[in-house]
Symmetry: C2
Subunit: 497 residues, 2 copies
Amino acid sequence: MSAASVAKRRDRDLVVTVFEQGSSISYSACSMPYRLGGMIDHPMRELVVLTPEDARKRGLDVRTRTRVTGVDAKKKQVHWVEVDSHEEGVESYDELVIATGAVPREAVPVAPSGGVFSLRSLDDGVELEAWLSRQGVERAVVVGAGFIGVELCEAFLARGLEVTLVNRSRHVLRSMLDEPLGHLVADRLEASGVRLVTGSTVSGWVSDDGTVHQVKEAETQKSPEGPALKAGTKQRRVRDGLQAAGELDRPVSRKGLSSQDPKAHPDASPVKQVLIDGKPTATDVVVVATGVQPDPRLAVQAGCRLHQDGSVWVDDSMRTSVKGVWACGDVVSFTHRVTGAPMFLPLALHANRSGRVVGTNLSGGDARFPGVLATAITRFQELEVASTGLTQTMAERHGIEVVVSDVDSETRAGYMPGEHPVRVRMVAELASGRLLGVQMVGAAGTALRIDAAAAMVWMEATLEQVEAMDLAYNPPFSPVWDPLAIAARITEKRRAP
Amino acid sequence: MSAASVAKRRDRDLVVTVFEQGSSISYSACSMPYRLGGMIDHPMRELVVLTPEDARKRGLDVRTRTRVTGVDAKKKQVHWVEVDSHEEGVESYDELVIATGAVPREAVPVAPSGGVFSLRSLDDGVELEAWLSRQGVERAVVVGAGFIGVELCEAFLARGLEVTLVNRSRHVLRSMLDEPLGHLVADRLEASGVRLVTGSTVSGWVSDDGTVHQVKEAETQKSPEGPALKAGTKQRRVRDGLQAAGELDRPVSRKGLSSQDPKAHPDASPVKQVLIDGKPTATDVVVVATGVQPDPRLAVQAGCRLHQDGSVWVDDSMRTSVKGVWACGDVVSFTHRVTGAPMFLPLALHANRSGRVVGTNLSGGDARFPGVLATAITRFQELEVASTGLTQTMAERHGIEVVVSDVDSETRAGYMPGEHPVRVRMVAELASGRLLGVQMVGAAGTALRIDAAAAMVWMEATLEQVEAMDLAYNPPFSPVWDPLAIAARITEKRRAP
């Protein structure tokens, strides 16, 4: 929608057609956990940012509940089908934008009608909220300790549920935190009453009627590769069962059932137990939050080159490897500013920004996507969590020699009331002293500090520069020496004693 | 104390002697308004960061209640007198550090024993707090709408007082905000019940016994100039009555009485009225918060060059113009990173940092003071106020051609509960697009954003770079597009349409 809106705004003569298989074109996915937890008064359905009617008023030809089933990049055509009427058609284009996003990577077969959910679409949110309002829902199991998993724990506790969080390891929020900082969050989860089951996986669930829903073993057949991929590149299976255009007229197949189109779910008997390492544990609702993966099926059909993780390759103009085909949003990978390597980072800002780049370029402009730092913030109750740039894990994976320090500091002057500790982990390049990444876990006033760190990493500041900066001080907001300045001083001392 | 502590820590063989005329060596001046407003539980007296005993344990020879009355930079000696015993003595030095700080620039004669205060020393805070606890104190007048004045309004309202704030203009917080943003704060002050009297001055006060305490007209005699000042430099009067070394054995004279040494105050009959533009207004307590000015008397005696505002000139090593004499803290001016010009900026971080620079250099190191951006944050109740870099006013004063924009944004996602607007004023260099300054006034989540802006200005980011940065998003903390990114985009469009 960003691409479409920007293109149309900049060039009123452009005919812009938007196909969307669902009913909603733009909603705040990130806010769903807060709505579920009662922190937002708006009804779930009103978390829509832009309605199809709004978009049509902008001059966009928006076709909701219309699924694109095929792309012919040579003829410059897409084939579509109306989900409800099954009417089919063909649309020609001069330029095609693929913004098919990402889909949940479920470790467990979901079945909303049985109380087993993922949380991606607005429909997912609406159905989950309705389920939580049913009588007798007292126990919840969350699978996966990423952003969504942790935010759901807060929401479910706020609703008075008993919460079990199942994660492969004790390392929670691993996409943004190194393990020691992840442990701080794990400790707080447990202290707040979450039953944290680590080193375990949920292999399936049992419904009230005794049916066992288990993860099917992945099919062994190989997915099609993007033709522009270098020979010999090892490509992971992109999608289970993803094979050919003929399959595109049904929702992306997953391990089990799909929550993308609620109508596709068979009615299921309500969940009674989840199988944690095969052992049954009673529950009334399950949310599988084990991450998402790109949905590149249309891009594959168009002949677009993919990355190994199945995301679509684009240059910094958001052009794919196929002339006349662009891609943006959660289906592509972005260049990380520090490593220079592509990164699958399905976050709202980058989806939005990359769409704006496409929209600008489609309307005669020359915009470039500037890259990402994987900046992220979240919270669990009062605990704020933030990260930007490289973690130690990422640095090691990319062979970058770093110095790392963990520094305990405070978000406010010491004599201000309440608890206000913050742990800062700083990651800097060993040779140059350049700041490469910052992670923070702490009390109120922690999360927003990450923007300062993001600006520092973005501008390639050294630790010495960070320590020298004129950061703000006032007792309710900060100690005299900001946690970032203190951490920079200590890290620099370790780097060059 | 920073200079002394760092020097001693780095070189245990250094003999470090500290002279302090008062009883406290290190206290949190910035927290006094919060303590007065009941937001801090610690008793005022416990806002001490370091006691003389702590410092002595660090190996420092700390001599409190001992006033230095003279400096002989040729003989490398200081003359001192014990305040209580009147015992006098002489101390030789190899290196002298002048950290005499700043003193209130009172527009009204203060008299703590009569309920008319300034708020600089810990004693000021203790006496004011005691006065506020007296029976029948129901009305307060604050003179001056800088940080302290605005913070005191919050504190006095929290105590249930009727508050009148008198300021020369409607432009409040003028050291950090351009006038339009100052008006937002003024509006909030009034909406919260503060009687804001602008375009007015307090010329004096009347005590219960009928005595009228009025501002004495400044004496016309000229202050001594630092000998290194260029001939022809127009120097403003540094201190009323500041003349010669012989006068240094009494507290710095002000317009009227001094609160620096409570013993110097004659007992006064309690305040009954203040004279606002000559007209009497009933009150039970007055705080004069019209800013501070450097106290360079010892530096003048030592022969140190001064700036026009009376602050001591130092290079980036914190050396004065006199060999063997250093200066740091609120008595010096710092170099502004953007203008390159000296700036009198009596804030804790710079005082502390400049002391560390001296301490490092005294102990064989080579530290440099990196300059300032005048970053500042404060609040009035729920309203957060922040600034960094150049305001439009400062830019114009320095002849820098800028583009300025005021952008209304939000500190959180729109559907999150509560009010969360923020006004961002961005100041950028017209020719280059370089970000020179940011001001923000808004709801919770405003103030801490200034650190990101400070990092951007420090690293000389352009508006385009600011817009491109990967700033954090999560509904409770930020909208998808951070207010800084939005403001940068709009400002850049104005700059280069």
